[in-house]
Subunit: 307 residues, 2 copies
């Protein structure tokens, strides 16, 4: 599948992934310091090839906070420097410093027209932006007695299915709620040749225990690809006398990596930490040979296509 | 979704399903007697509205056996009587006797040209055939150290995505390996309005523990529909001195029903038995309202269509 799509020779199979699960506060400066520290640890002693940050790691996860924390000047892949966004500049600097691939979780982005997006930047080890994904499925849900959220109150949706090329082959990229959409992942595996799908995400205490791991295992087994997720650590609810400026959001945590056979190969609880996973991406081809569903699709009966 | 597609007024929501997990032998006569007995139990004291039989319940599960056990004269929906197939005739008789919906698992079917299919017939309580599904994805796999099987050695694939209408709304239908194909299930939910997907299946001891429940929960949570499966019970391997005429196939068992929230609501082990599940199909609309992914598909980025 993906082997033939590499522009520069055979793919690498061994990949050490680090999922950076850290606590996000209302202080952007503190969040940037935390991210830097986690990246230093994962790349240093951790020896990671690729780090994944959580969804919305520089801002509280609250629709009302996104405009305040949003940064502009996030260029498209291959776009210009110097970066004007402090969060992007940090990721660029750490990528170069450590010779590291960084899937930069997501941050609120504001474009020139004032529209705000939930945006993931990906940096290669030279600090080049190789992908910019704006969350395409906005988190607008209302589970009675559970979670109610409306990202579309302040956010605009992205307009593209996103992957980026690496020495390990094409890597698919979505953000959080994007993982609920099977078609999106199937496209990345079937049409883009991805062997790994990465989803920064911040599930909650209703859908987290019910669906977070299930959705990752579902995407893995249907796409026969590795799936990696990174969540913020769970922050304790603030005391009532100091509630904070934005509604408290309790993230589920449980950053996880799942194999193409559907096995959870690394995970954690809700606390801060780094989840490491040593992936052998050749397992993708092995599973796809064993149970060749990607060749057995009945495209005479149904068709999934990029629109 | 499906509420508006009912031809005859409001849908019923309460549905008592019985999954008939019985042992299949090399004697077709014995298999027919067993099926009759399980149907009598499920419809009698069990009070089932709808019974599901296992995949290939009248024949050993072996590619070489299918030609020998295959029955002809299986009419399409609404097709003529009297039925010439003893297996179909049994199901018709039991449907009428008990006023029962029967998803007739599957049997090997031979058509007028000698082609053989893995075929499921569905009967309404008047004994009418309301669906005939020929397995569309044939089980051709080769897992090193695990399972190797090639249905296409003797079987031809079906040519249709199948559902049937009931007082509970449209019910989607696939057979075993069909469940691995997310697109097939998504079509049934998105385009056909199904609130329940039924898969007779006979997973094995390699893929059963790894994927049987996962795939059902994946289909349920992606389609926000109930999923019901019925497997043969596991038969012990015969002693070496009497190996039987066909290769022994150890079925995983574990007939299961999963809710649209992805919860296993009823299941069992590998032994013989009847799994009952009392479904409230209104839960489908409740989940689809809470997390409205079926309305949030980005059909401007990807499209899944019937071909």
């Amino acid at each position: 599948m993906s082997s033939s799509s590499s522009p520069s020779g055979p793919l690498r199979d061994g990949l050490r992934v680090a999922l950076l699960q850290f606590r996000v506060t209302e202080s952007k400066e503190e969040n940037l310091r935390t991210a830097a520290s986690f990246l230093d640890r994962a790349a240093g002693d951790g020896g990671a090839d690729l780090c994944v940050l959580p969804e919305i790691w520089n801002s509280p996860y609250a629709a009302a906070a996104f405009p305040e924390y949003a940064e502009g000047g996030l260029p498209p892949p291959g776009g210009g420097r110097p970066l004007k966004s402090p969060s992007a500049e940090l990721l660029e600097r750490k990528a170069v410093q450590h010779g590291l691939w960084i899937v930069g979780g997501s941050i609120p982005e504001v474009d020139d027209d004032g529209r705000i997006y939930n945006t993931c930047l990906v940096f290669d080890p030279e600090g080049r932006i190789v992908a910019k994904h704006r969350k395409v499925h906005l988190f607008d849900v209302d589970v009675p007695g559970g979670i109610t959220f409306s990202e579309s109150d302040t956010l605009s949706p992205g307009q593209a299915v996103t992957h980026f090329d690496t020495p390990w082959g094409p890597v698919g990229l979505g953000i959080c709620y994007d993982i609920r959409f099977a078609e999106y992942a199937l496209l990345l595996a079937e049409k883009r040749g991805c062997r790994l799908l990465v989803y920064p995400g911040a599930f909650n205490l209703t859908t987290g225990p019910a669906h977070w791991e299930l959705l990752q295992r579902a995407r893995a087994v249907d796409c026969q690809a590795f799936v990696a997720t990174a969540s913020p650590a769970r922050a304790a609810a603030p005391p009532p006398e100091t509630p904070g400026r934005y509604p408290h959001y309790a993230a589920w945590g449980h950053s996880t990596c799942v194999s193409p056979w559907g096995v959870v190969v690394a995970t954690t609880d809700e606390g801060e930490g780094i989840v490491y996973a040593d992936l052998d991406l050749a397992e993708v081809e092995s599973v796809r040979r064993s149970i060749p569903i990607l060749q057995q699709k009945r495209t005479d009966l149904y068709r999934l296509d990029e629109a």
